[in-house]
C-alpha cells in the first residue's frame, strides 16, 4: 500500500517527517541502516528522486549519515533521538491546540478533555 500525502505540502517534506517518526518509534533504531532510495520509493509510491531529496535533507539535519557503498544509516546519538521526539510531539500538540482553539475550546477545557480521554 502506498503512502497518502497531504495535498498542500511538498511531498519530500512529508517523507522527512515520516522517517523521523519511524526513527523515534524505534522502527529504524540509532545506528541501523534505512531502506535504499528505491526500496522506499516503491513502498511509498513516489519518485526515487523525491526520496533522494528527503534523505539529503535528513543528512544535512544530521539525522542520517552515508557509509560509502554501504547505504544510509541513522546517527547513533540518543541526544538527537530525544530532540527529534520533542520536536515531533511539540508539533502534534501545537496542531491539536490549533484545531481545538478553532472549535472554541479554551486552554483549560482542552487540558481537561485530554485528561478525561486518557481515563
Amino acid at each position: 500500500m502506498t503512502w497518502t500525502f497531504e495535498s498542500d505540502k511538498p511531498i519530500y517534506g512529508q517523507i522527512v517527517e515520516r522517517i523521523k517518526f519511524r526513527i523515534v518509534k524505534g522502527e529504524y533504531p540509532p545506528g541501523s541502516r534505512i531502506p535504499s532510495v528505491r526500496e522506499l520509493a516503491l513502498e511509498a509510491g513516489v519518485n526515487p528522486n523525491t526520496v533522494q531529496r528527503a534523505y539529503a535533507e535528513l543528512e544535512s539535519e544530521g539525522v542520517l549519515y552515508t557509509e560509502r557503498t554501504n547505504g544510509k544509516f541513522v546517527v547513533n546519538d540518543s541526544g538527537l533521538l530525544n530532540q527529534l521526539k520533542q520536536t515531533l510531539s511539540r508539533n502534534y500538540i501545537e496542531d491539536l491546540f490549533q484545531k481545538l482553539t478553532d472549535l472554541g475550546l479554551t486552554k483549560e477545557e482542552i487540558i481537561a478533555a485530554v485528561l478525561a480521554e486518557k481515563e
Partner: protein, 234 residues
C-alpha cells in the same frame, strides 16, 4: 546530457496551430507529467518526439539527434490507441519486439506478464480493453530506452492495476532515462512525477518541479491544474 530539447518548435495542421514556438529541455533521470486539457497539444508534442510528425517550424532533438531511425532505437513510445496486431498473443508479441528492438528485455516482459496474470496464449482480440492496455505498457516499458513517451498509459485500467503500473514505472526506469507521461489522471500520477508541464492551446504555461508547484501554490498538482484550467467563469 539532455534527453530531449525543443527550440521554437511549432506544428500547424493547415491553419490550426497545435504547438506554437515551444522551448523545452528535458534532462535525463526525470519522470515528467505532460498535462493539459483536450486539444492542448500533448499528443502532438509526443508524436514530434518519435517522428510520427515532422515540425512545421523550429527544432526538436533526442539526445542531440534529430528524430530519425536512430532515435527510434532509443525512444520507447506508447500510443494512445491500440497499435499491436490483434491476432497476436503474448508470445508472438515478445518475438516481434525481440526482432525489432535491440534494447528489448525479454525477461522483464515475461516477469511482468506473469505478475499480472495475463494468459500467454490468448490473442489480443479476446482480451479486455484494460488487459490490452496493460500488455502494451509492459511491452513499452520492457525496452531499455533513453526516453519513454507514454500517451495516456493508465486511462483504461482499474485502480489496483494503476498502482502496479506506476510501481513498474518507478522500479524500471534508470538514471540515464527519462519518462514523459501524458495524462488527465493527475491525482494518480502526482507523487511519481519529478516535474510537470502544463500545456494550454499549444503553449507551455508552466514547467516546474512538482514540489515547487505544491510549495508555491499551496495546493496539490491536481487542484492547481483544476484552477488553472477551470472551464467556466464565476
Amino acid at each position: 546530457m539532455n534527453v530531449m530539447e525543443c527550440s521554437n518548435l511549432s506544428k500547424y495542421y493547415g491553419s490550426v496551430s497545435a504547438l506554437d514556438s515551444i522551448d523545452l529541455t528535458v534532462e535525463s533521470g526525470k519522470i515528467i507529467g505532460l498535462l493539459g486539457p483536450n486539444g492542448s497539444g500533448k499528443t502532438t508534442l509526443i508524436k514530434l518526439a518519435c517522428r510520427m510528425l515532422v515540425p512545421s517550424e523550429g527544432k526538436i532533438t533526442i539526445c542531440g539527434m534529430e528524430p530519425s531511425p536512430e532515435t527510434k532505437s532509443i525512444v520507447s513510445y506508447l500510443p494512445d490507441r491500440n497499435f499491436l496486431p490483434e491476432w497476436m498473443n503474448c508470445t508472438d508479441l515478445i518475438y516481434l519486439y525481440e526482432d525489432f528492438y535491440r534494447d528489448f528485455d525479454t525477461q522483464r516482459a515475461v516477469e511482468m506478464i506473469r505478475q499480472l496474470n495475463i494468459d500467454h496464449k490468448m490473442p489480443m482480440k479476446k482480451m479486455s480493453k484494460g488487459t490490452k492496455e496493460k500488455l502494451q505498457l509492459i511491452m513499452t516499458m520492457s525496452r531499455r530506452a533513453k526516453l519513454y513517451l507514454l500517451d495516456e498509459p493508465i486511462a483504461g485500467v482499474d485502480p489496483a492495476a494503476r498502482d502496479y503500473i506506476l510501481n513498474t514505472i518507478i522500479s524500471n526506469y534508470d538514471e540515464d532515462a527519462s519518462i514523459i507521461i501524458s495524462t488527465h489522471l493527475i491525482a494518480d500520477v502526482e507523487s511519481v512525477l519529478d516535474e510537470a508541464i502544463f500545456l494550454k492551446e499549444g503553449h507551455i504555461i508552466l514547467h516546474d518541479t512538482v514540489d515547487a508547484i505544491r510549495e508555491q501554490s499551496g495546493k496539490s498538482l491536481d487542484k492547481h491544474f483544476r484552477e488553472v484550467f477551470r472551464c467556466w467563469e464565476n
